[in-house]
Amino acid sequence: MTVVLVADDDADIRDLVAFKLEQAGLDVVAVEDGQAALEQARIRQPTLAVLDVSMPGLSGIDVCRMLRADPATAGMLIIMLTARVQEQDVEGGFSAGADDYVTKPFSPRELVSRIQALLSRTRA
């Protein structure tokens, strides 16, 4: 089963994303900050990570950059969640190595379809 890592400091959003992904048949590992995300990424070796950009401590962009820097996790698919539509956030996310980004507020359905699109592209 495909493991997906979800990192968001907002429990409501975290639960919402986890719920939708589990409903889609994915194995979800949900964490509430960047540090935990890095730990779980090494332990569980997820195929894909959904990272919120603004988290206390390590931000989603920091986590993304670190994951890409670590050979063990460098090939991971990464989707960023951002509340801002400012260009520098999006560019920051892409330059840190994100594969896609979704702007808050997002439709859970849309998020799931984007994740599935990424996964199927990698698998193919």
Partner: protein, 664 residues
């Protein structure tokens, strides 16, 4: 006649000679007349009477001789009476001749008388002789030679008198001829002299006078360097030429002075521009100080600012003489004795009526030297900002023009200081506003971020709820959830639009102009709203003619088209149409118009259409969703592109929004 002599003298001399000639002619004629008169007089009073007397004498004697001979021959006593008449007439006749005769004539008369007396003596003897006697006959024979002698003497005198009369007449004739000749010569001389004088005068006057007139014409024609020949022609014309040259020199001096004044004016005007061009007060003051020193030849220039004038150096001088130099004392004097518009000149107290510099100021002037001190108030509006002091070391006075120009510069300085200050204040204000704006943008960004996170949860969970089976939910609850969903969407749109508007207005969304094809943008926007239009059964039409390139920000222009089109679709009832027109308007503009057959906007509300959060009453009434920010965003973008937007609408008929954008 000297060539450089005066015409007056020439004429005087010429007329003198003429008068002399006329007098000579007169004298000659007078002399002739006198001489002739004397000749006539001599002829009539002496020669001719003498001739007559001589003839009478001869007649008397002839009568006596004839009568005596007749008596002697005939013995007729009557004839003897005739002899006695003649004998008694004789002494009177001799006396007459003697009285008239003079000189040699007297001698001739005496000789004649002697002969006559000789005859008379014989005649007395004859008379006593008996007539017709031999003795009488002898006497006739002896008396005959005597008588003949008398006749000879008488004829001699007659002859000499005739000769004298002829000589007199000859002389008179000759004198007459001589006089005529002399008068003719004199007249000819006078005429010639007059002609020569006239010619010479004319020539000597007209030539130089013509040249002088030529010079005057050239001067009038603008040849200011033209000068008359001052050593040409008679002294009168030379005097006129000298006067003309003097006037021309004077005019040259005046022109040069005017030129100087004009140049000064131009320099001062330039200086004014430069002073007012400075955006920093200190630079404006320095420009004025240095410019005045150069333009008005001031050796010392001092600008003192009045107390309480902030942002300006209190004292500025040309060579920083106010620190330790001769202006130190003056720099310490307050300029408060000057009011706005005041001028004070040390060497012309009359020009500074009502301005009373304090004693300290006067002493400070004296400390600088004896030069003329010009002090002008520097005014900004009605306020006296300070004093401008100009001093010359060489003591040359300040001309009224210079004083006036110093006032002009002081006024420019006042304005310059005023403007520079305003500019500096404005700069502070701009900086402050920019800070505020950045804070606002930051705040908006943060707020929208903070609003979005809870909105994500609301929208997300709402979606989860609505995705569940309808059986579990029930229709009534589903409708309620849909109301929540609609309002969540509206809230989200509000946040997005507010953020967009805030960014566009703050300039954070800078327009990045690029070559844009308007028709392509219209096609894209139409494609984007096509699903919504189809859903609402609204027909979409385009009227785009040809490629319409223009310089614009494609993203923002797209936003404009999207806003206008989605509005048009939203407010148009089913079976209505939305028409987009894109066309060129002249060479410089592109017009994009979106027309619908929708509900329209009440006329009273059309003015407020671009106001933020404004929504038309009929739209609210029909519960058509919207944020009220769309047109405000459109307006701002169009404004940022230098374009115009216009709305024409009739309620229940439709609305046309026309955007006119410059091509460049």
């Amino acid at each position: 006649m000297r060539r450089d002599g005066s015409v007056g003298r020439l004429l005087t001399r010429a007329f003198g000679v003429l008068v002399l000639l006329i007098v000579c002619a007169g004298v000659a004629q007078m002399t002739t007349v006198l001489v002739q008169h004397r000749t006539v007089d001599q002829l009539s009073t002496h020669v001719q009477p003498l001739q007559l007397a001589n003839a009478h004498l001869r007649g008397v004697l002839a009568d006596a001789q004839r009568a005596l001979r007749g008596y002697l021959i005939t013995g007729d006593g009557q004839l003897l009476d005739s002899y006695h008449v003649a004998r008694s007439a004789y002494p009177l006749a001799v006396q007459d001749a003697r009285v008239l005769a003079t000189g040699a004539e007297r001698a001739a008369v005496d000789a004649q008388a002697a002969r006559a007396d000789a005859w008379w003596a014989l005649a007395e003897q004859q008379r006593q002789a008996p007539p017709r006697s031999a003795r009488a006959a002898d006497f006739v024979v002896t008396g005959m030679p005597l008588f003949q002698e008398f006749l000879g003497a008488n004829a001699d005198l007659d002859e000499s008198l005739a000769a004298r009369a002829a000589a007199l007449q000859r002389r008179s004739l000759a004198l007459g001829r001589l006089t005529v000749a002399a008068v003719a010569v004199l007249t000819a001389c006078a005429a010639g002299l007059a002609a020569i004088t006239a010619t010479r005068t004319t020539r000597r006057i007209t030539g130089p006078l013509g040249r002088l007139v030529g010079v005057l014409d050239r001067m009038r024609g603008g040849d200011f360097a033209a000068r008359a020949e001052e050593d040409d022609g008679p002294s009168e014309i030379r005097a006129v030429a000298a006067a003309v040259n003097t006037r021309a020199d004077e005019a040259d001096r005046i022109r040069a002075a005017e030129h100087d004044v004009a140049r000064l004016h131009a320099e001062v005007r330039e200086l004014g521009y430069r002073i007012r061009g400075h955006l920093v007060v200190e630079d404006a003051v320095r420009e004025a100080v240095q410019g005045l020193a150069g333009t008005l030849r001031a050796d010392h220039v001092l600008v003192r600012m009045a107390a309480g004038q902030t942002d300006v150096p209190p004292v500025t001088s040309l060579h920083d003489e106010h620190r330790y130099g001769p202006l130190a004392a003056l720099a310490g004097c307050p300029s408060s004795w000057l009011k706005s518009g005041d001028v004070h000149l040390t060497d012309d107290p009359g020009s500074s009526a009502g301005v009373r510099p304090p004693e300290a100021e006067r002493q400070a002037w004296a400390a600088v030297g004896n030069g003329s001190v010009l002090t002008v108030a520097v005014s900004g509006g009605d306020e006296c900002l300070g004093a401008l002091t100009l001093i010359r070391d060489d003591g040359s006075p300040w001309s009224p023009v210079e004083v006036r120009l110093a006032e002009v510069v002081a006024a420019d300085l006042g304005r310059g200081v005023h403007h520079a200050r305003l500019y500096e204040r404005e700069q502070h204000l701009v900086a402050r506003l920019q800070e505020l704006d950045a804070a606002k943008t930051d705040f908006m960004s943060t707020v929208s971020h903070e609003l979005r996170t809870p909105l994500t949860s609301i929208a997300g969970y709402l979606e989860l709820l609505l995705d569940t089976d309808s059986g579990e939910l029930g229709d009534a609850r589903r409708r309620m959830l849909e109301v929540i969903a609609r309002n969540t969407r509206r809230l989200r749109e509000l946040i997005e639009d507010m953020l967009t508007l805030s960014k566009i207005e703050s300039g954070a969304f800078r327009i990045s102009k690029a070559e844009v094809e308007a028709t392509a943008l219209v096609e894209n926007a139409l494609a984007a709203v096509a699903p919504a239009a189809a859903k609402a059964s609204v027909g979409l039409h385009t009227e785009a003619d040809g490629p319409l390139p223009l310089q614009a920000d494609p993203d923002q222009l797209d936003r404009v088209l999207m806003n206008l089109l989605s509005n048009a679709v939203k407010f148009t009832p089913p079976e209505g149409t939305v028409t987009v027109t894109a066309r060129r308007d002249g060479d410089d503009h592109v017009v994009l118009a979106v027309a619908d057959t929708g509900m329209g906007i009440p006329e009273a509300e059309q003015q407020a259409l671009f106001t933020r959060f404004f929504r038309a009453s009929n739209a609210i009434h029909q519960a058509i969703p919207g944020t009220g920010l769309g047109l405000a965003i459109v307006r701002t973008i169009v404004d940022n592109h230098g374009g115009t937007i216009e709305v024409r609408s009739t309620e229940k008929v439709g609305t046309t929004v026309t955007v006119r954008l410059p091509v460049q």
